[in-house]
């Protein structure tokens, strides 16, 4: 029961806000905040109630559609891999609500979309029936499309449609793979699928693996399927960028571990080297392209491609350490990039530009925001004692033996990333002061900084006390890597 409540609580709050009368529309933000805080509290309770190493827990299971060969369950559960991601989602949802607290344009519909988005992502992380998983995966499209195309900026309709078409094409392949798998195994139950060994299907199993991978890789995203991401980011409102970079991309990484690797370990063994190679290429390519960006949001978007490449590299190594590192990188990247987008959003609200060339010397005029930007930037670079460092080191340690050259490429990419982040910080935060920003108000509302502080605290916590999460990830990933090892 608790998981069902947790998953649907955000959507419930969002739809509740929709019922507010027009003259009370701005109360929608409070309803959304209450809903997201409740969900956050509940997820934290679950986090501490979770019995580490105890497999799937908080199971909610009911028969849903059972006709002939079609046996679809309503089945939610979390394990050590998904629970941290669930907490990340509730946390970033709260941050996203706070970031958009001052929204004026159709606030009821806005918060409804945002909260339904949160429910969809929570559903993806907790669904253990493959078809239910697919439904949640698709559910995420609608609010996301609306959020970008209604509340976005620039070429918002183009970007929103591009996002949808990329994702839907990926899910088309995914659906074929899901049906093929379910047919050969006789079930949609991901737990059963993850424990049985499937030796043949109506499609060659390597196709099934590939189709699933395409569906998830679009979301991750990998080079060359990444081009929707910069567009979506640059045209999305701040809170949506936070959700997109923070949790939506993680759906891809999570799903690859949960399904591709767990259900088809033999194929994962065969293609691990390709995953690692694609990951390393994404790291490098993302880093190079980042250098050319002049828009801060696009810059962060490309750096996300680079950082998510590390996730794929870690998964491609298939060992426990590397995959734990990959999962940790997802969490760290979610928090750090979320924070970057929040801070950039605050900056944009005040300066109305994201062009690096037009910014400069902000440390003087908006010291608080500049501090946040510098902190998040350093975290993104992988400064020790912050979350990103732990993740990167774990991935490299785990993957080095297996894919030496890929790790070397990726390390080079990480060095590049340090370069571009520091360079950007230097141009935006320091440098000559520009007087057009003299009048801006650094500290307008408490809620703007609440999310920054909260995110920074978690980044530090994960940087100095990694075993809080590692202990939880380790047994869950251990099961997966044991399957791969045979």
């Amino acid at each position: 029961m608790p998981l069902t409540v947790l998953v649907f609580l955000p959507a419930f709050a969002g739809l509740l806000g929709l019922l507010l009368p027009a003259n009370r529309a701005h109360y929608a933000r409070w309803v959304a905040l209450a809903g997201s805080l409740l969900a956050l509290a509940l997820s934290i309770v679950l986090f501490f109630d979770f019995e580490t190493g105890g497999g799937f827990q908080f199971v909610d299971r009911a028969a849903w559609i059972d006709v002939g060969v079609f046996d679809i369950q309503y089945f939610l559960a979390v394990d050590g891999l998904s629970l941290p991601l669930v907490v990340l989602t509730t946390f970033l949802t709260t941050a996203a609500v706070l970031v958009s607290f001052s929204i004026e344009h159709r606030p009821r519909a806005y918060f409804a979309c945002l909260m339904v988005l949160s429910t969809a992502v929570l559903g993806v992380f907790t669904a253990m029936d493959f078809l239910l998983f697919f439904l949640f995966w698709e559910l995420e499209l609608f609010p996301m499309y609306l959020l970008i195309s209604v509340w976005g900026s620039g070429r918002r309709e183009y970007s929103a449609m591009k996002f949808v078409l990329y994702t839907v094409t990926g899910s088309a392949f995914m659906l074929v793979a899901i049906l093929a798998l379910a047919f050969s195994a006789g079930t949609f139950d991901m737990q059963v699928l993850g424990e049985s060994s499937i030796s043949s299907a109506v499609l060659p199993l390597r196709w099934v693996f590939l189709f699933l991978f395409i569906g998830f890789a679009v979301k991750l995203p990998i080079v060359p399927l990444h081009t929707w991401l910069p567009d979506a980011h640059s045209d999305a409102p701040t809170a949506v960028s936070v959700m997109l970079a923070g949790v939506l991309l993680k759906m891809g990484g999570y799903a690859i571990i949960r399904t591709c690797v767990t259900i088809l370990p033999d194929q994962a063994n065969d293609y691990g080297i390709w995953l690692a190679a694609i990951g390393a290429i994404s790291v490098l390519y993302g880093a190079f392209v980042t250098f050319r960006q002049t828009d801060v949001k696009r810059l962060i978007a490309y750096s996300s491609v680079s950082h998510m490449g590390l996730v794929l590299l870690g998964i491609g190594a298939l060992g426990t350490t590397a995959m734990v590192g990959a999962a940790y990188q997802m969490l760290a990247h979610g928090l750090i990039t979320g924070m970057l987008f929040v801070v950039i959003g605050l900056m944009y609200e005040r300066t109305h530009t994201r062009e690096i060339g037009k910014l400069g010397g902000l440390a003087r005029q908006m010291p608080l925001i500049a501090t946040g930007l510098v902190f998040a930037g350093f975290a993104s670079v992988g400064l020790p004692a912050l979350a990103g460092f732990i993740a990167e080191v774990t991935v490299f340690l785990g993957a080095f033996q297996k894919h030496e050259w890929a790790v070397i490429m990726a390390i080079f990419g990480v060095v590049l990333s340090a370069g571009y982040i520091l360079w950007t910080l230097q141009r935006v935060v320091f440098g000559p002061v520009r007087h057009e920003w003299d009048e801006v108000d650094d500290q307008k509302h408490w809620w703007e900084h609440a999310s920054v502080v909260g995110l920074a605290a978690l980044v530090i916590l994960l940087g100095v006390y990694p075993s809080l999460i590692m202990d939880m990830l380790d047994p869950a990933i251990g099961v997966v890597s044991a399957r791969v090892a045979g």
């Binding site: 439904l135 698709e138 949808v164 094409t169 659906l175 047919f183």
Partner: protein, 486 residues
């Protein structure tokens, strides 16, 4: 008497058709009751059909040429539902046109009786007569409008329909010449006796039959009439054509090919023909639908693509056993789902185009503000046509795709899912236009209560069966099971 009992539903409808005409002649001032007489006839047919379900005593009549079984019952319900919704949705339009009201209802009812005969026909002659009984009124109805476009539509439909009937008859003649009987069971026995020796003759006959019915199903390459007729015919008639005759053609093709031509050596051949037609129809229908500016033409092309989707199910049923039931029941489920959905979409178009006097998709901009419920209902129907959850269209597609996977038609399923992506683009483009577009004219539209009722029924069906598909799937499976038994 017992034989009249078996065709009771059809008789009830034909009686209502007569009653409508007589009423109009005797009480010309009370024309407003005409639709209620028609509805009473349909209700009578539905009730009569239900007594068959309650009695559970399924049998054949007229020397085996006509059967009442679960399959026929399923389709009789579908046709009763379609006709009722069409009648309700027509009321407003018929009143506005003014002339020949009773004839309109009488023709719709006659066509409907023909469709119901098709559902149970097990003999070539019966099939042909029932087909003509349903077609001739439809030719007249297509030309019902007073403008040149409608006349052109009627003429085109008639001429091409005549050619199709000729092809069909030729195919039937070949079968009769081969088997010496028009009964499907006799034909099946004759084929089984003769073995594979006469395969080429039978394939020619199959191709001719497919060509004849392909016209009614509106699949490529027999689709040329569709966009012109849908655009030219009065919208309620187009709605009727798009679901009624299509569903009936699938109903009869399935029975004809299974009961008559189901022998394994033959079924592999025609299944391949169906598979190719399915692939081509989906692809061409969708590609042409994208570029349409007129919503009725768009729906016309989309109905070609949808017929391609049904046909995946037909192609998948050449394989015996449990998978066979899957393919057949997939077609049935799809037919029922499509009936609700496409009717809903057409009725929404009726409601909107009556008020704004245009079928141009561009004029649907901002419909969300002008007629919120209508826009929402149309959006749901379009989403269902695109096969996106939580609508009945999703389950229909999923089920048919699943059947395709089981029948080793992965290539076809991949084409199918990719086509779903393409179709989502143009369906959602209309949704986007309605919800995001800026209306030139912000005036609210008043929707007539009858249109609202018909649309409400269809849309509630789309959503309710989208969340709880089990009853519909079960009904489809039961209906399809009669083939497995024989």
């Amino acid at each position: 008497m017992s034989e009249l009992d078996i065709v009771g539903p059809q008789l009830a409808i034909l009686l209502a058709a007569g009653a409508v005409l007589v009423w109009d002649a005797l009480l010309p001032t009370r024309r407003q009751y005409l639709p209620y007489i028609a509805l009473a006839g349909i209700l009578g047919a539905a009730i009569w059909t239900s007594t068959w379900v309650i009695r559970g005593d399924f049998q054949t009549a007229f020397d085996g040429t006509f059967a009442i079984d679960q399959y026929a019952v399923f389709f009789q319900y579908v046709f009763a539902g379609i006709t009722a919704i069409v009648v309700i949705a027509s009321i407003d339009w018929v009143n506005r046109v003014g002339r020949r009201q009773s004839e309109y209802y009488a023709l719709v009812l006659t066509a409907s009786a023909g469709l119901m005969f098709l559902a149970g026909a097990r003999d070539l002659i019966t099939i042909f007569l029932a087909l003509e009984l349903s077609s001739i009124p439809q030719y007249i109805l297509a030309g019902w409008g007073k403008d040149q476009r409608s006349s052109e539509a009627g003429m085109k439909y008639l001429l091409l329909g005549a050619i199709a009937s000729a092809l069909l008859l030729y195919g039937m003649a070949l079968l009769y010449g081969f088997a010496g009987s028009t009964l499907l069971t006799d034909i099946s026995a004759a084929i089984a006796d003769s073995g594979a020796g006469n395969r080429s003759l039978l394939i020619v006959a199959s191709v001719l039959l497919i060509a004849g019915f392909g016209f009614k199903m509106a699949v490529v390459p027999f689709q040329m009439w569709v966009p012109d007729v849908y655009q030219g015919a009065p919208t309620p008639v187009a709605a009727f054509l798009s679901v009624g005759s299509k569903a009936a053609a699938f109903a009869v093709v399935m029975r004809l090919f299974f009961e008559g031509l189901g022998e394994q050596f033959l079924s592999n051949d025609w299944a391949m023909i169906f598979a190719v037609i399915a692939a081509v129809s989906m692809t061409l229908g969708n590609v042409f639908a994208i570029v349409q500016r007129d919503i009725k033409r768009m729906l016309g092309y989309s109905s070609i693509a949808q017929a391609g989707n049904f046909m995946i199910g037909l192609a998948a049923i050449s394989i015996a056993g449990e998978h066979f039931v899957q393919g057949a029941s997939g077609v049935l489920l799809f037919v029922a789902a499509y009936a609700f959905t496409n009717l809903g979409a057409f009725i929404a178009v009726i409601g909107i185009s009556q008020k704004i006097g245009s079928d141009d998709i561009a004029d649907y901009a901002g419909m969300w503000k002008r007629a919120p419920l209508l826009a929402l209902a149309l959006a749901f129907c379009l989403i269902s046509l695109a096969g996106i959850p939580p609508t009945v269209g999703f389950w229909a597609k999923l089920y048919v795709f699943n059947a395709g996977i089981h029948a080793d038609l992965a290539w076809l399923v991949i084409i199918g899912v990719l086509n779903s992506v393409v179709s989502a683009y143009y369906y959602l483009a209309v949704v986007r236009q309605m919800f995001m577009g800026e209306a030139e004219d912000e005036q609210k539209l008043a929707i007539s209560p009858t249109v609202a009722l018909a649309l409400g029924v269809a849309t509630i069906g789309v959503i309710v069966f989208g969340i709880i598909p089990t009853p519909l799937v079960d009904a489809a499976r039961e209906a399809a099971a009669i083939f497995a038994a024989s």
